[in-house]
């Protein structure tokens, strides 16, 4: 079970079972709907911000534990964060998750989201972890 535990850390399972930011109540125009065509996972995500600070990231969706935990951790991470931080954070996250285990997320910058570090060793799971982050990028472009 050790390899499994490395990927599915308690924090991941907790976030997937009790997700943060789950439920779309905002009418913020900054929103996106993304689908992972391989497995049918999907997410609808909206960013509430005032132009300088992210107030909240709300989302609804369905998918595997990794994709759900990733969305939840993203929502936790960005709450009340300067809007200018978002783009570099997404870039760093993408680089680490796609690194096949060679780059780890920085705990000081990513907090609990470093629980997703295990994903980068599993090419088949990278898309699961990225889904919410891709939606976030798209939402801020809209």
């Amino acid at each position: 079970m050790s390899d499994l535990r490395h990927l599915y850390q308690e924090l991941i399972l907790d976030h997937s079972r009790s997700p943060h930011g789950f439920g779309l109540s905002t009418d913020s125009p900054h929103r996106s709907h993304q689908v992972n065509p391989t497995c049918g996972d999907e997410i609808a995500l909206a960013v509430v911000h005032d132009g300088t600070t992210v107030e909240s990231v709300q989302w609804e969706g369905q998918g595997c534990a990794i994709s759900q935990a990733s969305a939840s951790l993203l929502s936790t991470l960005l709450e009340r964060r300067p809007l200018a931080d978002v783009e570099p954070l997404v870039a760093e996250f993408r680089e680490a998750i796609q690194s096949r285990g060679t780059i780890e997320l920085d705990e000081e910058r990513f907090g609990d989201a470093i629980a997703l570090n295990g994903v980068s060793k599993y090419v088949a799971r990278v898309k699961c972890a990225m889904l919410a982050w891709v939606a976030l990028e798209d939402a801020l472009d809209s």
Binding site: L4, R17, S18, P19, C39, G40, Q62, C64, A65, Y122
Partner: protein, 434 residues
């Protein structure tokens, strides 16, 4: 009375001999012996299928139906022998079997050819559609047997309707939905998700009674049971080579000759014409009319070898083996707390395939736990989103077998699913934190 050996499962010695012909089965994955239960997606290939392809490529490779040299004649003969072998295997005459790159291309070929015919007032009325006509599919179709018909309906102004499925995945509404306006009924022979068979005879009888054509997606039946398209009375059917121990890149379309002959070609180019001028062309009869360009020669020859392999095993026995594996899969899964098995209930016939949902755990996570143990299954919607929506689920996990699959492998798989259930602490309900 002794059981009829033609209808009994393989003995363990026979199964060992079968498995010895598939080198990949000795591979290890993540430190475990490979347990390959994704044959519904693509089956493994025996050594002799590769040997047949290699032998052709290394010794007799040449373009077919052109060139007057010795190699060209040899290649053409082998290519056409392969067609005859595969055609006989599915109860067709050679001229009724068109090579395609896969089953998907076969569906698109017929749909696009009908769309083309529908633009031509001089085309055979049997293959022309117009506004008011209806195309009928089922709710359980693979996207490959749905999307081409959706587009055909849009292009011709016809209406696409569907036969709904029950909670157990049974096709319903045959007499209600198939009616006087129905011109074509496209449906799966066996479901790639549920593993159960469609009521082919009833659908064909109803379609015939209203003068509609039938199109059968037989991808999940041809590899697993004796199939005779002529006896089934369908007008068209498709299947793919790589699901029946053959290579990728080759499949076939069966069509009753007079209907193939009524269809205009799908791809235009070399090797499908009699006369070409700067203004137009005359086309060859089927099957060559539908085989423009250089064909998948070595793949066709390899597929014929796969067919000989299956013939030697005996399709009755292949079917008996698959049904027993399917029953063990379905029964074993149903015995694991939190598992919902999709498709036919206990005792109902199913091919060697079972899809399931583990309550509260996403299929992708189940698949990951199994993969860590070297067990390969399919997770997701299996290219059948409407069916999953109908069943109220987003995704499922599917274990699918082939001639080389063993009961011991099913047991390893079942243990894996039980472990996944334990690991994720099957609970289900999601608490949402504000």
């Amino acid at each position: 009375m002794l059981p009829n050996p033609a209808q009994t499962d393989f003995s363990s010695d026979e199964l060992d001999a079968i498995r010895a012909q598939f080198p990949i089965l000795t591979e290890r994955v993540n430190g475990h012996p490979l347990v390959y239960l994704d044959s519904g997606a693509t089956a493994q290939r025996p050594q002799r299928v590769l040997d047949a392809e290699r032998d052709f490529v290394l010794r007799r490779n040449s373009a077919v139906h052109r060139g007057a040299h010795w190699l060209a004649a040899e290649a053409t003969e082998e290519f056409e022998d392969a067609r005859a072998t595969v055609a006989r295997f599915v109860g067709a005459r050679p001229e009724e079997l068109v090579w395609t790159s896969n089953a998907t291309e076969g569906v698109n070929l017929v749909a696009q050819s009908i769309a083309e015919a529908s633009l031509d007032p001089a085309a055979d009325p049997r293959v022309r559609l117009a506004p008011g006509d209806e195309i009928v599919v089922t709710e359980l179709e693979h996207h490959a047997n749905l999307l081409p018909w959706q587009r055909l309906a849009r292009r011709t102004g016809a209406t696409l309707r569907y036969l709904p499925v029950s909670d157990e995945g049974e096709v319903e509404g045959i007499d209600e939905v198939i009616g006087e306006r129905t011109r074509l009924v496209a449906f799966s022979h066996a479901s790639n998700v549920l593993g159960g068979y469609s009521p082919v005879e009833r659908i064909v009888a109803r379609a015939r009674s209203v003068g509609a054509l039938t199109f059968l997606d037989s991808c999940q039946a041809v590899p697993h049971a004796p199939v005779d398209f002529g006896a089934l009375g369908v007008d068209f059917a498709v299947f793919s080579g790589h699901k029946m121990l053959g290579p990728t890149g080759i499949g076939a379309l069966y069509g009753r000759f007079e209907l193939l002959d009524a269809l205009p070609p799908y791809l235009l180019g070399g090797s499908m014409i009699t006369t070409v001028t700067m203004d137009g062309a005359e086309y060859l009869p089927p099957p060559q009319r539908f085989e423009a360009g250089t064909q998948r020669i070595s793949q066709a020859i390899a597929l014929a070898e796969a067919v000989r392999f299956l013939d030697e095993l005996g399709m009755e026995r292949v079917a008996a083996h698959g049904e027993r594996l399917g029953a063990r899969l379905a029964e074993g899964l149903a015995g694991i707390p939190g598992v919902r098995v999709l498709g036919p209930g206990p005792g109902a016939p199913r091919i060697g395939l079972a899809s399931f949902v583990l309550e509260g755990v996403h299929a992708h996570d189940v698949g990951h736990v199994l993969d860590e143990r070297g067990i390969a299954i399919r997770v997701g919607h299996h290219c059948a989103q409407p069916l999953h929506r109908r069943l109220g689920i987003a995704a499922s996990a599917r274990a699918s077998t082939s001639v080389y699959s063993t009961h011991a492998e099913i047991d390893v798989f079942l243990e894996g699913v039980a472990e996944a259930a334990e690991f994720f602490g099957v609970a289900g309900t999601r608490e949402v934190l504000a």
